[in-house]
Symmetry: C2
Subunit: 437 residues, 2 copies
């Protein structure tokens, strides 16, 4: 992974960062890195995430998958589909890894929309589906409700769910009890690692492994990202990205548009949005992540990015190398320039044109590149963004690894559903209504 901050410099765009300012910021990066390094070494809460490439245990992951009765021993055919039942950090990392690696057959139930759940269950080959239930606490309402529905759907279809289910959860809780009761294979949720930082653990890697992905190489990419952490933004791409994003925010870029030019990175942008939002969005601070996709969103969002409020910067991401597809020659004169080229060349031209177009309008942007979207490149990219987010949190002075603001709504919903007496549920009932029909 490397980062090009050329279009974020004050010499190029008015709201950019000056060299002198970056030099001063680098002193803070140095100290923050010392803090991060020591905390990772001690596996402090949250910081332990950055030790995952070394701490994760892929052998245990494979063992859990091979212990799923219906697909036992890895001798028969593997599952045709993996159904992850999880939400937020329990789903986004896994979705990101399988999609980035181009693995097919991974489906996710990360919402409780009855229409969607029913349709997905109708379409899946249930007897060939590995159910991957993920919840650290084992009490996440959406996940557990969906799992109850999945179990029943399998029973109704005459399929033994207990022979097709693997559970990833903490050391205790209802899911752990259930796994014990039915003797289900389990994977641990790593200690001290918040969900949004768990992509490089069983939480993020199990579906990829079950579908034949090379998760050891993903972890190797993560380890390379770890080895690339240096105590200077001028020496370390992840820190360069974070420091520049932070400096741009201080100069007005309160929105960070994450815009990969690769369909396989669409879930990556979602994953990044969670990482950024939950880690930094607190105490009235934090950059708002916006998920975009190149080249598609040039025809939807670029007008705003280039000519709207000066409150954003754009992160353009691409693999330097990818399989390509030729565009046939055409006798349509006005389009002849497209023929004989390739879709990859067109996409690269769009990428560079958009980048320059933003700079020409004085809009800061940063380029992130990986060599290729292979297992190592994906691991490197995920690790790099996590390290960037941790550094950003240090610079901003927030509690990077907690998400206290989501508790209120959880209690309210539980109270509304009769799961206990919660004051928050009473507040829901008192909503101010001003309805226009």
């Amino acid at each position: 992974m490397d980062v090009d901050i050329g279009n974020a410099l004050a010499s190029e765009v008015a709201q950019g960062v000056s060299d002198a300012s970056l030099e001063r910021l680098d002193e803070r990066v140095y100290r923050a890195h010392e803090r991060i390094e020591a905390a990772v070494e001690d596996r402090e809460f949250g910081y332990a995430s950055l030790a995952l490439p070394e701490d994760a245990d892929p052998a245990a992951l494979h063992e859990a998958i091979e212990s799923v009765d219906a697909f036992a021993g890895g001798t028969g055919p593997g599952p045709a589909a993996v159904l992850t039942v999880g939400i937020g950090g329990s789903a986004l990392g896994a979705e990101t890894v399988t999609t980035a690696l181009g693995l097919r057959g991974h489906h996710t139930l990360d919402n409780v929309d009855p229409v969607h759940v029913r349709r997905l269950l109708d379409e899946l080959p249930l007897d060939e589906t590995l159910v991957n239930v993920v919840s650290r606490s084992g009490t996440t309402a959406e996940t557990l409700a969906n799992f109850l529905v999945v179990r029943e759907a399998m029973e109704d279809a005459g399929v033994d769910w207990s022979e097709r289910t693997v559970v990833t959860t903490g050391e205790s809780g209802p899911l752990r009890d259930l796994a014990d009761e039915h003797d289900l294979p389990t994977c641990p949720v790593p200690e001290g690692v918040p969900g949004r930082y768990s992509a490089l653990s069983a939480v993020g890697l199990l579906p990829a492994a079950a579908l034949g992905g090379d998760v050891e190489r993903v972890l190797r990419g993560g380890a390379a990202g770890h080895a690339a952490l240096e105590p200077s933004l001028f020496e370390c791409p992840a820190y360069a990205y974070a420091a520049v994003a932070y400096a741009l925010e201080a100069r007005g870029a309160t929105t960070n548009v994450m815009m990969p030019y690769a369909e396989a990175l669409e879930p990556f942008a979602e994953w990044f949005a969670q990482l950024w939002a939950e880690s930094l969005g607190k105490d009235g601070l934090g950059q708002t992540p916006v998920r975009a996709l190149g080249a598609t969103d040039q025809h939807s969002q670029l007008q705003l990015y280039r000519a709207g409020r000066r409150d954003k910067f754009v992160t353009l991401v691409r693999p330097r190398d990818r399989d390509d597809l030729a565009v046939p020659e055409t006798d349509l004169e006005e389009l002849s320039y497209l023929g004989g080229g390739s879709l990859g060349e067109l996409l690269d031209a769009e990428f560079e044109a958009t980048e320059a177009s933003l700079a020409a309008a004085g809009r800061p942007n940063v380029r992130l590149e990986v060599d290729r979207l292979d297992a190592e490149g994906v691991g490197r990219l995920l690790y790099g963004m996590e390290a960037a987010c941790v550094l950003y949190g240090e610079l901003l002075g927030v509690e990077t690894f907690t998400q206290p603001a989501v508790e209120w709504g959880k209690r309210a919903a539980r109270g509304l559903l009769g799961g206990g007496d919660f004051e928050e549920a009473r507040e829901v009932a008192e909503k101010a209504v001003r309805r226009i029909e």
Copy 2:
């Protein structure tokens, strides 16, 4: 469609709008509506969009579909799949309508990622696929390049593309020439209607019609939305939404989070984001639309929305009624409150809990509801948001129907690909580079 602005009032949230302020704003709504009504009547550029429910010609649409040789006459089986080749406004409306209506088999090539294009073409049953090419100018690089690739893939598979293709384009241009040459059925892009406002025309309705959707009822829903336009925000849901969004922006909510609680409305949020971004994001103004999905993003973005910068408001959307799915009883004590309920009840509880959670933290939010996600509800919702956006543009004083900022990049990309001599392409070559590896 109705709108509840209770949680956007100053009496509820600090950054909210006072009643007196809304009264004053309503005078501007009155005048803006007079202007809009006259311009729609005269079919002025852009404003003509709001007359589409009456002007659209669904019979011509059906005729075009029935003229596609491979599926001729509607007597044999219809196409198994519809492949829309288009980008931005030429794809998002169609995707929104088919998904909201729950129609299966609509695929979109709205990006030029070679890996993705190849995979999709490998998976589609090409001989049973209707190719729906959409470009007003007939020169959109991404669309035309993809179409050339699709044609070749069909030829390679021994499938006659010219018997499976319908073209939606303007009165002249390369696509029109090509349609004439091969005697392909065509639909017109309506005059005076920018792409992002074309959902209620052939551009947005053809795939739904080809897959058996009731597009007449969608148009009827749009017409009901038109009939519901009244010269007061207190009488008209669409204007209430726009006026409150505008007033909240003036009070700091420069970001508008569009968060439907329905998987089938995920493309709707994308469509809304284009509508809002391209219409309002200009002259250094405009609210940034952010696409979210409930309940999923409660576990990803809610921390930020509730505790991050006070620069947002959240639009919560749901159908009041939907098909439901029971959650089985469970003997897991801690989860027994979930058993015996339904996923729909859980989703509604999450919706209301999130809404109240935001209000309790002083974060403005607005509720949008439709009776049901049926054809009429979808048409009503799309029309309502378009009318809202037009009113917002009037209040903001921008040129709602143009998108001038995207031209620079188009010229640059064309120049880079050898499609002519463009100064912009030279600027791309001069990019400032500051790379950290």
